[in-house]
C-alpha cells in the first residue's frame, strides 16, 4: 500500500528523513517548515480542472537509491533514451540518483552537474542562494509538498562566460510506484554563459501499476547575457499524476527557451513560466501535448514582463484523442514600466474524437501603454474538407488524418532547436498517437 495521508507528510517525519540522509541543517529546517505548510494550504487551482479530484495522496515512501555500477546496468527503457552520449548524464530512479557522470573538461571549467541532494551537501552555499527562490514553497500545497519531500533532483551551475557545447542530459524514471518520486531541478547559468539541458521523465512500463504522484519543480536562473535551453519530455504511466511547475527568472539580455513535451498517460498539471526581470530579456516556450483515454491535462504557459524591451513567445499545441481533455491557459502579463515589451502567444487544440475536449484561454494582462502583444487560439476537429482533399489524391483516410495531425504539430516540432529532443519527441508522439 502507498502511504495514504490526507496531509501527505508532517514536520517530524520530513525532518527525520532529511537528517537520516545527512542533509545540512538549513535544508532540514526548510523541509520541516514546508511539511507543516503542506498540511495547511490548498492545492493549486488551475482554470476549469478540479485537480483535487485526482488521486493526489499517493506520494509513497522514500526508497534509498542503489547506485548503478555502469550505464549498461540501467534498464533498456532508460538506455534507449540516452541521446547525448554518456559523457554528461544523470539518472534518477525513484527516490534518488543512481548514475551521474560529467565530463572532466566541464568540471575543470567549474561547471557543476550533479543531483541536487549531493549539491546541497557539497555546494550548500551556492544552492541555498537559489533553491526555492524562483518558486516559493508557500505558494500552495504542491510547492510545499515538493519542498518537504523532494529527492534526487538535478543541479546545474555554469560559471560566468562558460559555454557548454553539448547538452547535459538527465533521465528520471520510476519503476516502483510505492516510492516517492519527487525531483527538484535547479539550473543556474551565470553571466554570459550558455547551456542546454534536456531531460526525460518516464515510468518503466514493466512496473506494477499503482497510483503515484510526481510533484516536481524546476527553477532556472538566467543571469545577465546568459542563454539557457531547457528541453523536457514527460511520458509517465497511466496511474501517475504529474504535477510539474517550471519557472525561470531572466535577467538583462538573458534568454530562456523552453521545449516541453507533455506526453504522460495520466493526469497532468504542467505550468511553465518565465519571469522577464531584466531589460532585453527574452523567452520562447513551445509545448506539445497528446492526450488519450480519459486523461485530463491542464497546461499553462506564462510570461511576466518587468524588463524594458523584454520579449516573450509562447506556443502550445495539443491533440486530444478518445475522451481526453486539455485546458490550455496562456497568460502574458506586462507590468507597468516594461516599455517596448512584446508578448505573443498561440494555443491550439485538435480533437480527434467527439468525446475529446479542448479549451484554450489566452489572457493578456497589460499595465503599460508602450508595448505590443498578440494572441491566437483555436479549438477544433479534423476538418473533413481537408481529409477529402487528401483522399482525392489517392491517400487513404487513415493516412490523410495522420498527415493532418502531424501537420498540426509540425510547425512546433520542426522548430525545436535541440535535435535529440526533436527526434525523441517525434518518436514518443508517434507512439502515443498510433497507440
Amino acid at each position: 500500500m502507498s502511504t495514504q495521508l490526507t496531509t501527505p507528510t508532517d514536520r517530524q517525519s520530513a525532518e527525520a528523513l532529511a537528517r537520516s540522509k545527512g542533509e545540512p541543517d538549513w535544508l532540514v529546517a526548510q523541509r520541516g517548515e514546508a511539511a507543516e505548510l503542506a498540511g495547511t494550504i490548498g492545492w493549486p487551482k488551475p482554470e476549469k480542472v478540479r485537480i483535487e479530484r485526482w488521486n493526489l495522496t499517493a506520494v509513497g515512501r522514500y526508497e534509498k537509491p542503489a547506485a548503478a555500477g555502469a550505464v549498461s546496468e540501467l534498464p533498456a527503457i532508460v538506455r534507449e533514451l540516452v541521446s547525448e552520449g554518456t559523457e554528461n548524464l544523470l539518472v534518477q530512479r525513484n527516490s534518488g540518483a543512481v548514475w551521474k557522470q560529467v565530463a572532466g573538461e566541464l568540471s575543470g571549467k567549474g561547471v557543476i552537474f550533479t543531483d541536487l541532494e549531493t549539491a546541497c551537501r557539497e555546494h550548500g552555499d551556492l544552492v541555498q542562494q537559489y533553491l526555492f527562490k524562483a518558486v516559493s514553497k508557500d505558494e500552495d500545497k504542491l510547492t510545499a509538498l515538493n519542498a518537504a519531500i523532494w529527492n534526487g533532483g538535478v543541479f546545474v551551475y555554469v560559471p560566468k562566460n562558460v559555454e557548454v557545447e553539448l547538452p547535459l542530459q538527465a533521465i528520471l524514471y520510476n519503476d516502483d510506484q510505492e516510492s516517492t518520486f519527487a525531483p527538484h531541478i535547479l539550473i543556474v547559468a551565470d553571466n554570459h554563459s550558455r547551456v542546454t539541458y534536456v531531460d526525460c521523465v518516464i515510468t518503466d512500463p514493466a512496473a506494477a501499476a499503482s497510483p503515484f504522484v510526481h510533484p516536481s519543480i524546476v527553477e532556472v536562473f538566467v543571469k545577465p547575457g546568459a542563454h539557457v535551453r531547457f528541453g523536457s519530455i514527460h511520458s509517465m504511466g497511466e496511474t501517475g499524476v504529474d504535477m510539474t511547475i517550471r519557472r525561470a527568472v531572466i535577467e538583462n539580455d538573458g534568454r530562456i527557451e523552453w521545449i516541453i513535451g507533455d506526453l504522460n498517460d495520466g493526469n497532468t498539471l504542467s505550468e511553465t513560466k518565465s519571469v522577464l526581470k531584466g531589460q532585453g530579456s527574452t523567452s520562447d516556450a513551445k509545448v506539445i501535448s497528446v492526450g488519450k483515454n480519459a486523461q485530463q491535462n491542464s497546461l499553462t504557459t506564462q510570461a511576466v514582463h518587468f524588463g524594458k524591451s523584454s520579449d516573450s513567445n509562447m506556443v502550445t499545441r495539443a491533440v486530444m484523442k478518445d475522451s481526453a481533455s486539455a485546458i490550455i491557459n496562456g497568460i502574458t502579463k506586462i507590468e507597468h514600466g516594461a516599455t517596448k515589451a512584446n508578448g505573443v502567444q498561440t494555443e491550439k487544440v485538435l480533437m480527434l474524437s467527439p468525446k475529446a475536449r479542448g479549451d484554450a484561454n489566452p489572457i493578456l494582462l497589460i499595465d503599460e501603454d508602450d508595448v505590443t502583444a498578440g494572441h491566437a487560439a483555436s479549438v477544433g476537429q479534423v476538418n473533413p474538407e481537408q481529409v477529402y482533399y487528401l483522399m482525392s489524391r489517392g491517400i487513404s483516410k487513415q493516412d490523410a488524418e495522420r498527415l493532418i495531425i502531424y501537420g498540426f504539430l509540425a510547425p512546433v516540432v520542426s522548430e525545436i532547436p535541440i535535435e535529440s529532443v526533436r527526434g525523441q519527441l517525434q518518436r514518443l508522439l508517434e507512439r502515443k498517437l498510433e497507440g
Binding site: 487528401l390 489524391r393 502531424y406 504539430l409
Partner: protein, 259 residues
C-alpha cells in the same frame, strides 16, 4: 484498351436538395470535353459528386471508368482508379509540406515496400515544377497554405502531372491565373494529352479553350447538360452569352437548387 468514362443518368443532392438532374456524358481517352454554363448551374457539383465529396449524395445513375463503378468506391479508391479533380477551391493543409503530400499521394498508388525512392521523387517533382515555372520553394511550403489563387491552380496541375490519371476534371483551372500562368498551365495540360487520357474542363471563358482545344463543348443549366456541340459552340457563347440558349430552350431561370 483506351480509357472509357461513362456518366449515365447521374442525379445528386446536397442537404436533400437535388442539384444534378440526370447527367449523361461519355468521355474516351484522347478526348477533351468542355463544360460551360452560368454560375450556380451545377458544374462544380458534378465534379464533386464524381470525386465523392461527402456532402454530395448521389441519388441515381452511374459513373464507370473502364467498366468499374466509381460511385461504389471511396474517394481515395476513385483517385487510385484514375480519376483526378483539380478543384475550384483547393484546401489548405497547414503543417504538411507540398513535397511530403505529393510523395504520400504517389506512394498510395504503389505497393508497400515498393515506394518511390526519394531521389527519383525529387527529380520528378523538380522537373514538373520547372515545366510549370514554379519556384522550387513551393516544394517545402505547407500545402496550399497562403498560396495565391494562381499558385494554388498551378499546384493542382503539378499534382495532375505527377499522378498520371486517366480522367482529369479541371474545375475552373483558369480562374485567378494571369496571362502568362494561363499559357503555362495550358501547356502543362496539353503535354498530358494522350490517347489513354480524357479531360473534362469546366470553364467560363473561351480564352482557355484557345489554348486547350476541346473536341466537344457542353452547356449546363438547371443541373443538366442542355446543349452540346463542337468548339464553335464555345465561341458563340463567348460572343453572345447564354440568352440565346435559354431562349432556344425556353429556360427562364438557369440556376438550380435556389429556393
Amino acid at each position: 484498351m483506351t480509357t472509357q468514362f461513362v456518366i449515365d443518368g447521374l442525379k445528386a443532392a446536397i442537404d436533400g436538395k437535388e442539384i444534378l438532374k440526370g447527367i449523361n456524358l461519355e468521355i474516351k481517352g484522347g478526348e477533351i470535353h468542355a463544360i460551360m454554363g452560368p454560375n450556380g448551374t451545377g458544374k462544380s457539383t458534378l465534379a464533386s459528386a464524381l470525386m465523392g465529396h461527402p456532402k454530395y449524395e448521389v441519388t441515381e445513375g452511374t459513373a464507370t471508368l473502364d467498366g468499374e463503378d466509381l460511385l461504389e468506391m471511396e474517394v481515395d479508391e476513385r483517385a487510385r482508379a484514375g480519376l483526378f479533380l483539380a478543384m475550384q477551391y483547393p484546401s489548405e493543409i497547414p503543417g504538411v509540406t507540398n513535397s511530403d503530400f505529393l510523395r504520400s499521394a504517389i506512394n498510395a498508388r504503389r505497393e508497400e515496400g515498393n515506394e518511390i525512392s526519394l531521389i527519383k521523387f525529387i527529380r520528378q517533382m523538380e522537373g514538373k515544377m520547372k515545366d510549370l515555372e514554379m519556384n522550387p520553394e513551393f516544394a517545402h511550403r505547407y500545402l496550399n497554405e497562403g498560396f495565391s489563387g494562381g499558385e494554388k491552380k498551378r499546384n493542382e496541375i503539378l499534382q495532375m502531372m505527377l499522378l498520371d490519371p486517366k480522367i482529369v476534371v479541371l474545375d475552373e483551372i483558369d480562374s485567378g491565373l494571369d496571362i502568362d500562368a494561363l499559357r503555362i498551365v495550358s501547356n502543362g495540360v496539353n503535354a498530358m494529352r494522350s490517347e489513354e487520357r480524357g479531360f473534362l474542363i469546366i470553364t467560363h471563358y473561351q480564352r482557355l479553350l484557345n489554348y486547350i482545344k476541346p473536341d466537344f463543348v457542353h452547356v449546363m443549366m438547371q443541373g443538366r447538360i442542355v446543349k452540346s456541340g463542337g468548339p464553335e459552340l464555345a465561341e458563340r457563347l463567348e460572343n453572345e452569352g447564354y440568352d440565346w440558349v435559354k431562349e432556344e430552350l425556353g429556360i427562364v431561370d438557369e440556376t438550380v437548387g435556389q429556393a
